[in-house]
């Protein structure tokens, strides 16, 4: 009989292997599913996993989709490590987009180098401003940040909707609810001509490195981890819990804000009523898939981005329903949770006594 036996120490090897095993299991189950549906499995596999990234353009699209997921996912995983549950990254993303767009529109047609940096700064502050509301309520009145940050997301969406149909509407836009198209100095430089890949991809890599350094090498990161694992031990060591709540939320808000700007000033190029396909929420899944570790988040972000592209591609070439994307994401999450057991347990064959 097969039994699980607790390991003396959590396995470091399994920590790295578990997501790979989960990915392989997802792949096998997915192909089995396709086979049962009567879809030729090789073609399905090709359509879902190979075709989207078989061209330079496809690879660039992967980067475009993964960048915001990774930037937000890293920041959220740092907060989650500290048991600060910022669920409102989507709202903070929207506020970042609005703040950045406001700078772009204020300096419309001003061809100066400072416009873009100023937009980035504004987007960070915008996201932080939105995150500071739950932080203040949490630290002053002990209000649950899950509720406040989530509710503020809807406020942000409505604010954006009002702005694009009112104060920030394109005067020459035939009353469509959208802003002017940004001028060139307010658009992100592209990394590859002919694609939409922008410097956000590089920033995402930088955020991964910075997040890893913060968590593993700094006193602040240590304090955040201790606060999450054993708050009383944190208090004993002299870490201020309120300060850590502020740090975690402002970090999440700032990164979400930048991600919002990168959408507005990158692939979109203007302010629209809808600037994100739910990156702020998907990043929560990315953070957990990446085991709340910045490097893990990088891979999780890429996998999530691929599942979006693969779903679209399978829809186009094989006429499969778009729900396939959701099925794959769900299976991946389940298999990961299951294989996580292997970190603390080993599989043994139990002898009957």
């Amino acid at each position: 009989m097969i039994a699980l036996q607790r390991r003396a120490h959590p396995s470091r090897l399994m920590g790295y292997l578990a997501p790979l095993i989960a990915f392989v299991l997802t792949l096998l189950s997915g192909l089995l599913l396709f086979a049962l549906l009567g879809v030729p499995i090789f073609e399905a596999f090709h359509a879902f996993f190979i075709e989207p990234i078989s061209t330079v353009y496809g690879l660039a699209e992967l980067g475009v989709k993964a960048a915001p997921l990774v930037i937000i996912g890293v920041a959220l995983s740092i907060g989650f490590r500290a048991q600060v549950w910022n669920i409102g990254a989507e709202g903070q993303l929207i506020l970042g987009g609005i703040a950045g767009a406001a700078v772009a529109l204020y300096f419309y047609e001003v061809d100066e180098w400072f416009v873009l940096p100023l937009m980035i700064l504004a987007s960070i502050l915008g996201g932080m401003l939105w995150a500071s509301v739950p932080a203040l309520l949490k630290t002053r009145f002990n209000v649950n940040e899950i509720l406040t940050s989530l509710m503020l997301t809807y406020v942000a969406a409505l604010l954006l909707s009002w702005l694009v149909s009112g104060p920030m509407r394109d005067p020459d836009g035939f009353n469509f609810p959208e802003s002017r198209l940004f001028h060139d100095a307010a658009l992100l430089p592209r990394l590859l001509s002919g694609t939409r890949l922008h410097i956000g991809a590089l920033v995402a890599l930088g955020v991964v490195v910075a997040g890893w350094l913060l968590l593993s090498k700094t006193l602040l990161g240590f304090a955040l981890r201790v606060n999450g694992a054993a708050p009383r031990a944190g208090a004993h060591a002299g870490f201020s819990q309120n300060r850590l709540v502020w740090v975690a939320l402002l970090l999440g808000g700032g990164c979400a804000g930048v991600a919002g700007l990168f959408e507005v000033a990158g692939p979109i190029g203007q302010l629209l009523p809808n600037i994100s396909p739910g990156y702020g929420f998907t990043a929560i899944i990315v953070a957990f898939l990446g085991r709340l570790h910045p490097v893990g988040v990088l891979f999780a972000g890429l996998v999530m981005a691929l599942s979006y592209l693969g779903g679209e591609s399978a829809q186009i070439t094989l006429n499969l329903p778009l729900a396939v994307t959701g099925v794959f994401q769900g299976m991946l999450l389940f298999f990961l949770l299951a294989t996580d057991v292997l970190i603390n347990y080993r599989i043994t064959r139990k002898r009957q006594s």
Partner: protein
């Protein structure tokens, strides 16, 4: 017939029990048998395999080989439910209680009973009868360790078991309560119950137990009649070598005042907490001051205020080296030389899911320069962890072991070592030897003495009177948030300290006159 106890048929017998964990053989073919009407002591240091053995008996673990016989018939105790059905109950050393539920609800859950007034009455009856006062409607999170243990004891007694396993039940009781519990246990034994009694307190075992089985390194090394052995002899069997008898601490020369509390008040943190009222205390260099008291009389609050986890309202309520630190945070206090060891090892003094290296960094980074250019130096932290492991003989798989994987005694040695090796000017420790075996307790006591001899001021908050009498220079007690007067330990008796713990003053009793008094 009554007087040939060795011939009494065993109620439960464990034969050739072996159990291996990855990397260690916890039980190596152990035999033990319990008879109705007898209190059987299970002795051994931490890691000797006592817990494993009783967990097998209680159905929490399955043995790799060996068998258990209940009244002569082989049984398969596959779960605690089976054990309870047979009539085996257990009081654990570490409690399994739901913090947010009430005493009544916790007991009901453990017994699969309804939390009704019937059970409430039973709880009140049993708890008063055995001197274990409990309010059935209090939430568990508001209770101290000592009070939580009472729940566990009462929960077991309510099941009218035939075999009662007690894992160090007296660690948090006052001498009076211990006597009452012993009376209870003796009565239960007379009524025909078999009791398996695990303790490190050798005197207790000699007083209470009829038989003793001694384990060392997973093996049964001896059986003895504890009533005929000396404590010294039992300790030698347990530890495998003769240990020197504890020397009573000589009154050391004391220097200038290093640490003082003056008119420290602190309101209760919740409705069931204790308010600290007008606490005055000063400790000089080279001195060990002991604070006795039953759990839940303000010890937690006092420790938190002293450590800086909560700030005093007035800056000069707490002073260190003549400078006020009442409004300084815990980190700043450490930097200035005040180190603390809180009572709760896991989750307070140490983070169970982090390695020993990281747990060293947790509190030592201020004083040991464990950061280089603002970044955590794992190399230096590991070095310091190794130093602690060696100096305090901590049994573990090196500094990468998770704190939660160490046995209680070893983790405690590590935590105490971590603070002592930071060379604090003032060390405040709470319950440093709670649930720790004799060898480790000795090591911790020696280390505290050495620290004081080197000129530090030590404050020891403990519920273990033997410990306080043994190593403190002056002793007082905390009762309902107020601190008693302090007396030279050498001039007071245990009974007198008992009075202090009850909120009385020795002076008024005119025992020992004023000579020993020393406010």
């Amino acid at each position: 017939m009554m007087d040939t106890p060795t011939k009494t048929p065993a109620l439960v017998e464990m034969v050739g029990i072996s159990k291996a964990y990855p990397g260690c053989l916890a039980n190596d073919s152990i035999d033990i048998s319990l008879s109705a009407g007898r209190v059987h002591a299970l002795l051994g240091e931490n890691g000797a395999g006592k817990s494993t053995l009783v967990k097998i008996l209680y159905g929490l673990l399955a043995q790799d080989s060996g068998s258990i016989h209940w009244q002569g018939k082989p049984v398969d105790i596959s779960s605690p439910a089976v054990a309870r059905e047979l009539g085996i109950a257990m009081v654990f050393q570490h409690f399994s209680l739901f913090e947010s539920l009430s005493v009544l609800e916790n007991i009901a859950l453990g017994m699969d009973a309804d939390a009704d007034s019937d059970l409430r009455n039973k709880i009140i009856t049993v708890s008063t009868r055995y001197g274990l006062p409990l309010d059935p409607d209090r939430s568990v999170f508001t209770l101290s360790v000592g009070e939580r243990q009472r729940i566990e004891i009462v929960r077991c007694l309510l099941q009218n078991p035939k075999v009662l396993i007690m894992d160090e039940p007296t660690s948090v009781l006052t001498p009076l309560e211990v006597n009452e519990l012993f009376a209870t246990l003796s009565r239960l034994a007379e009524e025909g119950m078999a009791i398996l009694y695990i303790s490190h307190k050798l005197e207790e075992i000699r007083k209470l137990c009829h038989d003793a089985t001694i384990l060392r390194g997973g093996r049964k090394v001896a059986t003895a009649d504890p009533r005929e052995e000396t404590a010294q002899g039992l300790a030698a069997l347990m530890m495998g070598s003769d240990i020197p008898k504890a020397v009573l601490r000589e009154q050391s020369k004391t220097g200038k005042t290093l640490f003082s509390l003056s008119q420290l008040n602190y309101p209760a943190l919740d409705q069931n907490g204790i308010s600290l009222q007008g606490i005055n205390l000063s400790i000089s260099a080279g001195e060990i001051v002991g604070i006795a008291g039953v759990a839940g009389n303000g010890q937690d609050e006092l420790m938190q205020v002293i450590a800086g986890e909560v700030l005093a309202h007035l800056d000069d309520a707490i002073s260190l080296h003549d400078s006020a630190i009442g409004r300084q945070g815990a980190g700043e206090r450490r930097k200035r030389g005040l180190c603390c060891v809180p009572e709760e090892r896991l989750g307070h003094a140490a983070v169970p899911t982090l390695s020993l290296t990281e747990n060293v960094f947790l509190t030592a980074h201020h004083r040991k320069a464990l950061r280089i250019a603002g970044l955590v130096s794992y190399r230096r932290s590991r070095k310091f962890a190794n130093e602690i492991i060696q100096r305090f003989n901590v049994q573990c798989n090196g500094p990468a072991s998770l704190a939660g994987s160490l046995s209680g005694g070893n983790l405690q040695k590590f935590i105490v070592g971590r603070e002592i090796l930071q060379a604090p000017n003032v060390l405040v420790v709470s319950q440093p030897t709670w649930g720790v075996d004799a060898g480790a307790a000795r090591a911790i006591h020696d280390a505290l003495r050495t620290l004081a001899d080197e000129g530090a001021a030590v404050l020891l908050v403990s519920q273990d009177l033997d410990e306080l009498m043994q190593i403190s220079d002056r002793i007082g007690a905390l009762c309902a948030g107020r601190l008693s007067n302090f007396h030279q330990t050498s001039r007071v008796t245990v009974q007198q300290v008992g009075l202090l713990m009850g909120g009385e003053s020795i002076d008024r009793q005119a025992l020992n006159a004023d000579s020993g008094a020393d406010a």
